[in-house]
Every structure is written in C-alpha cells, then in structure tokens.
C-alpha cells in the first residue's frame, strides 16, 4: 500500500516545507554573518567552549525557524542575533554552572550595537592583525598561543610561564592593547593620515 499523496512528490506539504532551495538560501545569508553572530554570543556567554556549543544550537534553531524570517522587516544578521540572544539567555537560565550574567537590558544594548556595526569587519584589519602579531616579542607570542590556540585559562598559563594569573592577565591586556594600537597605526598609514 502506498502512502497518501500528501506525503509524496512535488507539491506535497512535506515537500513544500523542505524545498530544496531553502537551505541554500539560508546558508547564503547565514555564512557571511556567522563571525559577527559568534562575537555577539561571546559578549553574552563569554566562555569560548560554551559559546561554541550554544552557537551550534543557534544555527539549527535559525535554520528551523527560517520560514519565519521576513527580509522586509530586518536584515538577516539582526534577526539572527535576536534569536541567538533568546537561545543564549535560556541557556544561561538552564545552566546553573554558568556564572552570573548580564541583564536582558544590557544584552539588548549590545545587540543594538552589533546591529549598528553590521558588516564592519574587513580583510584589511585581519591582515593588519596578522602583521602586528608577527612583530610581537617572543614572550607575548607565547602568551597569545597559550591563551588562544591552546585555550588555557589564566591559572594554567601562569603555571606554565611561572607567573601569577594576575600578572598573566595584565600581560595579556598589554598584548591586546599593543595589537590594537598597531592595527590602528597600520590603518592610519594605509589611509595616509598621521
């Protein structure tokens, strides 16, 4: 016995729900904004591993709810951040191990900022960052590697470099500031401004 026609062939309800172009369209919108979406979620969830887990969940929720997205009402990135904020807040409420979090008002403020800055990232900055990182002193490069490649926390880094977590944090802050200043200098040089 065959199944009812509603389940078969083109034009069936299921087929309409799963049109083959749907996910390609979704990916075309999602892929360019995923970096910003990750950054936005980091600003709420902070911890990299947790953020990555929740990001996967958000990606699937976005895909699942893609039919509800109305391009005439907001850019995809803004809609995605709205969904991501909800998922992240729920995650924080569920996860009792999560540290104290920002208030919904503060999260909303960050969200609005990201909406303003949408698409502000650029290749020149990434290029400048790479160049500036090459110029870091060896010890700073080692700290960067330990923190970002090996994802060690400050205590572990401190143990490795025979220092204290507080000193490591200060050193990392100096590295970040140095990199940001270096990037800014390179941008100014490219623009030809002093």
């Amino acid at each position: 016995m065959s199944a009812p026609a509603i389940l078969q062939g083109k034009g069936s309800v299921l087929d309409r729900a799963m049109t083959s172009d749907r996910h390609e369209h979704f990916l075309a919108l999602f892929l360019p904004c995923q970096g910003d979406l990750r950054a936005f979620m980091r600003s709420i969830l902070w911890d990299r591993a947790r953020c990555e887990d929740v990001f996967q969940e958000v990606a699937l929720v976005l895909w699942r709810q893609f039919d509800r997205y109305d391009a005439t009402r907001s850019p995809f990135g803004a809609w995605a951040r709205g969904v991501a904020a909800n998922v992240a807040i729920k995650h924080l409420q569920r996860d009792r191990r999560a540290p104290m979090a920002l208030s919904p008002e503060a999260i909303e403020a960050i969200q609005e900022t990201f909406d303003d800055l949408e698409g502000a990232g650029d290749t020149a900055t990434e290029e400048a960052l790479r160049e500036c990182m090459r110029r870091l002193p060896a010890r700073s490069q080692a700290l960067v590697q330990l923190r970002y490649r090996h994802a060690l926390n400050l205590s572990d880094i401190a143990a490795r470099v025979k220092s204290t977590p507080d000193a490591v944090q200060k050193a990392l802050t100096r590295v970040r500031l140095a990199l940001q200043a270096c990037i800014e200098r390179r941008h100014r040089a490219l623009r030809g401004t002093p």
């Binding site: 065959s2 969940e57 403020a109 900022t113 990232g121 790479r130 970002y148 970040r176």
Partner: protein
Amino acid sequence: MSRSELEAAALMHRCLDGTASSHDIEALDRLLRTGGPAVGHSVARTVRFEGMLEEAVRTGTSGVPEMPELVSLAPRPWLRFAGGICGAAGLCAVLSVACFWVFAARSPHRPTLHVADAPPSFRAPSPHAVPPRAPPRRLEIADGSVVTLRDGQTVLAVESVSATQVVVGLSRGQAYFDVARRPERRFRVRAGTVEVEVLGTAFTVDRSTPGAVAVTVDRGVVRVTSPAGERLLRAGDEGLFQEGVALAAIDASPRTPRRVVPASPSGAPSVPLGRRTGAPRSEDTAKALLKTAVDARAVGSPAEAAIALRTIVDRWPGDPRAPYAAFMLGRVLLDDLNRPLEAAQTFASVLRLDPTTPLAEDALAREIEAWSRAGRAALVRERARSFLSQFPNGLHAEEIRAIVDVR
C-alpha cells in the same frame, strides 16, 4: 576613547578571560545600560577583536610560530646517538638492516613530547575530537626526516632505509611526516594499499578510520597511489582514499571558491576542491565539506554532494554539523538521487547522531516519507506512531496522523 568605554572594554576582557568578579559584571552591566551607544560599541569592538585574534591563532594564519621560547624539545640522548652513528656511516646503511622500529602501543620508552611540539595537523582538535590516549611520539630518521606518531595507538614500522630510498609502513593510527629534502632518494609511506611518495615535504597519513586513508599535505607535493589511480596532492590539500577507491580531496579554506570537477581517471568519484589554510581540523574539514555539498548540489552534482555529506557523517559523527549533514544527505538521497531506502536509513541516523537535535521532527517526518516511497508500509506505520507520540502537536502531525488513519 572615553573613560567609560575603556572601562567597559577592560571589564569585558575580564569576562572573556573568566576572571570577572560579580562586582565587575555588575559594573559592566551598569555601563551598558546607562553609558549609551559608545559603551556598547566599545564592548562589541572588544569581542570582535578577541574573535579575530582567536581565529587567526587557531587557524595558524597569524604568522606567529608555535610556542616560541617556552617549549624546546631536547632530543633524547639515544636518538642523538643513533643520529650520530647514522650520519657517520653515510646515510644509514646500518639502519637499512638493523632499524626496524615498531612503535607499539605500550612502549615502555615513551618519549616525553610536549603537546605544543605536535605538528599542526594534530593540534587544535574540535571540542568533539577524541583525545589521544598518550602523548605524541617522535621518531627521527637518520636522513633528517622526522615522524611524529599521534598517540600510543599508532603502529609504524621503518621498513627500509638506504641512500636512495626510505620506506615506512603505517599499519594503524596517524603519523605526521616532516621529510627532509633529498632529491636523490625516494621517501615512501605505505598505508595498506595506499602509498604516498614524496621528495621533500610535510604531511600526515591517517589510518584511524578502518578501510580509509587520509593524507594531508602541509608543505610540498606528494603523489598518492591507490588501486583507484594516482593523485598529486599539494600543500594545503587533503585527500581521502579508501582501500581501493579515492573518496575525495577536501578543501577547508573558507575563502577559496570551490570547484567541482569530473570523476577521477579511475572512474571513482572525486571532488578535488582546492586549498585549505592552516592546520586541518575536523571542524574545518566538516565545515568545508558542508559547503562543498551545497556547491555540488547547486551545480547539479548530487552524487558528489552525497559523498561530501557521507564523509562528514562517517568521519566526524561527533562534529556538531554531523546531524545536519545527515539530514541533508537524506534529502539528497531521497529528492535528487531517488534512493528512498538509503534515505530512510540516513534520516533515521540523524536522531542517533543527536537525539536532542532541533531537526528531530523534520528528520522523522522525512524518514516516514522515505519509507513510504520505498514501499515499506509496516515501517511507515511504526514510525508514524512514534512520530505522533513524540510530536503530537508538531508541524507535520496532521499529515502523519492522516497516514495512520488511512492505514
């Protein structure tokens, strides 16, 4: 920058570093609520910068050498001694006879190798990667080449060493080869029926998956010979070879446009797709394969899309993209390739990969549709009942209910 902007940036850094006190968090919260858009911008810039920094370091595109000054691997005395002997004897005539080293899992002489010394291919595993059971181990061959075994499960034997040829056999696991450039001698790695030949390069051979061999090239060019034919892989390429069939070559670079090319000369399906950047990681390759599948489908090559998706599901079932890849594979099999039986099984695998996936309802509905198209009425009924018990108010509940009623 104003003082409040600087303060917000510093507080956000503490949050990201995991060192923020409750006082810090309250202060950041207050600044964000009352400081206006400039504070928000400062926080957003901070987080974006952090993300960019992480990405650059993690993908190895930062240009920063791995762990300068902090880690130095001192060669063990016996290796140094062996190297000296070999050098004096003129490229290992001695070794060709005597050095048959089999690195078995429980070697009592496990060298202490720092994780940072592992080659790029072994670093930065995805959060879902299985951690190695033992630290990587390193073997220096007297011609200057260095082999790093991923863990204690890797079994490797140096089969022969001479002035003109080095042959190494990889029976199990994964090894990274940094081969000294010596044009006068051939360096070959045998992994079952797959053979990799190089002149001077660095690459990984992975036999962790039964029946499959993955070759990843970090530097130089290698020629891979398998029963399916011969293939050149360049720096940045990864090739997957089955014992007998070339599966695919993967591009993990997010910036290089993919190209889909015809099947390999042997007739085996093949999707060589360009270059990757940085070290290969499951997340990179899974992401790249997913994009490959989308591209392949877009240009009307569902079979190639299916290969890419199947590779994700089989090789990285723990990757967060695997359930989605399985779902997409089910669609390709059902909608494009008209293989309902396989499609049904694939849709069923979505829930096995992640029982809590948000795709669960869609996957089950599509599974029912696939069983229906395969003419498996009993399975359709069984799965439909299962669907209604799990998703009584689901998006597809009405259609599924109709099936149960009709039957």
